[in-house]
Amino acid sequence: MKELLLKRKSRFILYVLACFIPVIDNVLINLSFSMLIGSIQVRNTDYFIRLIFIAIGLIVLSTTMYITSRFMRISFMRDTLLDVRLLAFDKILNSSYKNFSKKSKDVYISNLINDINIFESNFFLKLINVIFRGGLYVVSLTIISFMDIKFAIIAFFISILLFFISKSFEKRTIELQEEVSKYNEDFAVDISNTFNGLEILKLNNIEDKFLSKALNSITGLERKKFTFNVYSDKQRRIMELLGFAFLIGSLIYLSTLIGKGMSLTKVTFMVQLSNGCIWNITSILPLFNQLKSSANIFDKITKNDEEFSSDLVKEKDFIFKNEIEVKNLSFDYEGKEIFRDISFKIEKGKKYLLKGSSGSGKSTLIKLLSMIYEDYQGEIKVDGVDYREIKEKSLNDNVSFIYQDVFLFEDTIYNNIALYKPYDEKKVLDAALKAGLDSLLKKKEEGINEMLLENGKNLSGGERQRISIARAIVKDCQILFVDEGTSSLDEELGRKVEDTILSLESTVIAISHRYYEGITEKYDYVLEIKNGQIIEYDADEYFMEVAI
C-alpha cells in the first residue's frame, strides 16, 4: 500500500499538503468568530464594522482554498486508483493457468469491480479525513497550550482515553468488512452462474427454485452488510457522544474563567479549539480502522499468492527438430490418478490421433505437452532438453491450439484470426479460406473487417470453430494441438478442414471423435489412452482392426 502512495512522491506530498489547507481555513474562521463574539463585551460599533470586512475577506479566501485543495487531491486520486486497477489485473494475468483455474471467473470479476469500488469509496475519503482531523487536533492543542496549559493537559489526556476506547473496536471492524467482501465474491459467482443457466431453467420450468435461492443469497448479503454498517455507525456515534460530553464539560470549566476575568473572545476561541480537538480525535479513530480495512482489501486483490514456483531456471528455448520424448510420466489431478508411468515419442512432422473414452486423460495429455501443468513425475524432453528448463514464452511461440471452446474478442474477424500479430495480410486471408470461412466472409458486409460482438455472439458454433482453425493455420507453428476441432462442423466442411489440418507441415496431436472416410486415415499414429496407460498404433493398423 505504501509503495502505491509513494509512487508519485511529489504529488503525494502535494496531496497531504492539500489536506492541510482546510485546517488553516478552519482556524482562521474560528478566530474571526471569536472576535465577533468578543465585540459584545467591547460594545464599539466601529470595531464591529471593521470585523465585518475582515470576515468577508476570509470567506473569499476560504472558497479559493477549498477549490485549490480539492483539485490538488482528485487528480492524485484518479491516477492512484488507475494504478490499483492495473495492479489487480496484473496479478490475475500473471498467474499460471493452473492457479487461475482454481477460482471461478466471477471471483476475479468481484475483485476487479466490487472490491475496487469499495476501495475507491472508502480509502481516499477516509485518508483525507484522517489527515485533516489529525492536523486540526495538533494545531488546536498547540494553540490552547499557549493560552491555558492546565486545560491543554486535561484535553490531551481525555483525547488519549478516547483513543483507547476507539481502538477496542478495531478488530471487529476489519473482521466484518472482510466478511462482506467474501460474501460479495460468493454472491457474484452464484448469480453469474444462475444467469448462465437461466435459459435451461426456464425451459424446464425450474427457475422458481433458483429464484428463491438467489433471493436468499441477496438477503444474506444485505444482512452481512447491515451488521457491518450498524457496527461502524454505532462506533462513530458513541465516540461523538463522548466528545460532546467533554465539550460541555470544557464549556462549563471555561465559563468559570469568565468569572475570573478572562475575555469573552479568548474563552470563545478556546471553546472552539477544544471543539476542534475532541470532535476530531473521536472521529479520527473509527476512520483509521476503516482505512486499515480498506488497505487490507487492497492487499487481497493485488498481492501475489502463487504457491508452486519452480526453483529451476527457465532459460532455454523450445527447439523441436526431431522428437519429443515422454519418459515414465505419472500425473495426478485433484487426487485422481490420470497417468501411470507412461512413455512414448512424438516425431516431428507426424500426425497423431489421441483416442480414449471420456475422461481418460486426452485433454490432460495435451495440457502436459503444452506446459500448462508442471507438477508431473517423470520427464518430458524435446530434442533432449527437459521441458522444465524451457521458457514458457518460447513454447507458446511454437505451438497452436484448436479447442472446442472458442474465445473471440470484440474486434474484427481479421484481428481474431491474426491475434494482433503482424502477419502478411495475404497470409491471413489465405488461412481464412483454408479454414472454410469464405461463405461467412461473403455474408458479412465488411468481410474480414466485420466487428464481432461479445464473444462472437452473432456467429454460429461452426463459424466460431472455423475462426479458431484459421488462427492455427495462420500461425503456422511447429506443433498443433487439436481438441475436437471439427465437432461443430457439418460432414462436408469437417472433411475439408480435417484434410487441411492433416496437410500442414506441423506436427499434429489431435483429439477427435469424428471419422471421415479417406481423410482420417491420413494420421500417422494413433495413441490410445486406457486406464492410465498409452498404447501406440500405426494408423493403418488401427483403422483396419478397430471397427468404427
Partner: protein, 538 residues
Amino acid sequence: MKKSIKKSWPYLGLALLILLIGASLDGYVTIKIMKIIDAALDGNMVLFREEALKTFLIIGLLFPTNILASYTKGLFILKSLVKSKIYYIEKLFDKNINEFQSENNAAYLSAMTNDMNTIETKYLEGLYEVGNSFIGFFVAFLVIASVSPIALFIGIGISIVSAILSMLVGKPLQNHEKHRSDLFQGYTSYIKEVLGAFQIIKANNLNEKIKEDFYNKSKDIQWKGYVIDKIYTYIVSFQQMLMYCAHFGILFVSVFMAIKGSITTGAVILIINNMGRVVYPLMNLSEWFPKIFSVKSLFEKLDESLTNHDNYEETIDLIGFNKSIEFNNVSFSYDTNEVLKDTNLSLLKGEKYLVVGPSGGGKSTLLRLLRKYFNPTKGEILIDGKNLKDVKKESYFKNISNVEQQVFLFEDTLRNNITLYKDFREEEINLAIERAGLRDFVNGLQNGLDTIIYDNGKNISGGERSRVAIARGLLSKSEIIFLDEAFASLDATVAREIENTLLNLEGITVINVSHVIFEETKEKYDKVFVVKNKTVFD
C-alpha cells in the same frame, strides 16, 4: 423500481422518528447551555451548577438514543436494498428467453453490483440524510424561535435562497452518472471476456496487448469519474461560500442585537449553535439532492432493461401433443437479417426427424422457433391446429424437453441435476442413466448419484456433461425431445448407442439437429430435413 423501494418507507419513518428524538434532546441541551453562560456572566453560581447538572443528565439519555439511530438507519437500508434487488431479480427472471439473451450477462451482473451500489450510496443514503437534515432544521428552528424570531427569519431567508441555488446547480450531474453506469457495464463485459480467454492470451503471448486494452478502458472510467468530481468541486465550493455568508450574516445580526441589548450573550451562543444545525443540514441537502436526482436516469435505465417488449397475450394451455406441428409459410428475420423464408414442413407425433445443414444456415433458428423463443415474423406455426404463438410458454415447455450442447450444471447433487427437481422412481432414473451411457461415470463416484457438483461441473468432461443432458431429456418423459448438437462431444460408439435408444422411443417425437450423422442410423429417421439457403428441404 422506485416503487419497490417505496415499500420500505415505514422503516425510513422509524429511523427518522428516532432521529427526531435525538435532535430534540440535542436542542434542549443548547438551551441549557444558554442558561449556563448567562448565569456565569451574571455571576449566579447556584443557577450555574443546577443547569450544569441537568445538562449532563440529558447527555446520558442521548447514548441509547444514538445507538437506536444506528440500528434504524441500517434497517432502512437493509430493507430497501433487499426489496429493490429482489424486484430486479424477479423481473429479470420474468423476461422471455430471447429478451433475456439480447443483453449479455455481464450487463445484469453490473446492474446487481455497480448500479445497486450507486442506488445505495446516492439514493438511499441521500434520502436518509435529507430526512436527517430536515429534522435538524426543524428542531433548531423551534429553539431559535424561542429566543429571537427576527434572527430566525433572517436565517431562514438566507437558507432558502441557498437551497434553491443548490438544487439548480445539481442538474448537470444526471447525465454524467448515467454515462458512468454505461461505462461500468462495458468494463464488466470486457473483463469477463478477457478472463474467459485467459488461456488463449497466455498461449499467444498476448499479455501486453491485453494489458494495454485494459489500461485504456480503466483510464476511461477513472477519467469520467474525475470529470464528475471536478464539476462537484465547483458546485460544492459555491455552496460552501453561500453557507459561510449565511452563517456570518446571522452572526452579524445577532451580535449587533446583543450590542444593542435586545438579547443576551448566552442567546447569541445559542443562536450560533443552532444556526449551525439550520445551515449545515441545508448544506448537506445541497450535496445530497443532486446525488438523489442524478439516480433518476439510472432507475429509468434499469426499468427499461427489465421490461419485456413482447407483450403478446398467450391464452392457450397445451395439454399433451397429439397430432402434428405444421409450419405454414413461415419466415423469420433477426432485425433485417432474413434467416428463413416461406418455410413449410410437417412434424408428426411419434416420428423421428434429423435436421442437418451448413452452420449458420438456419438450423438453430428453426430450433428456436420450435422452442418458442421467437415467433415467426410471417406465417404461422400450428401445433395440433392451434397457433403456437397463442400457447402459453410455461405450458408449452412442460411438453418438450431439450438436450443442448452447452450443458448447465448447478451446485447440487448429480441426482438433482438429472431429475431437475422433479420426482421420479429410482428405476426410472436408473434406466435413463443406463440409456445415456452414464452408468460408468456414476459408479466411479464415491457418493454415486448423491455426489455434489460444484462450480458448473468444472471437473466433469465434455462427454460426461453431454450424457447428463441426455439423461435429463430421456427422464423427462416429454412428448417432444429437441436435440441441439447433443452428440458433438461424444465418442462415436456411445453416440450411436444413444441415438438408437432415442430412435426406439415409442410415441415420442424426436427432432435431432446435428452434424454428427451415422450412415446406419440415418435410415431409421422418418425424415431428414436440410436447412439451407433460408429454406428447408427434406
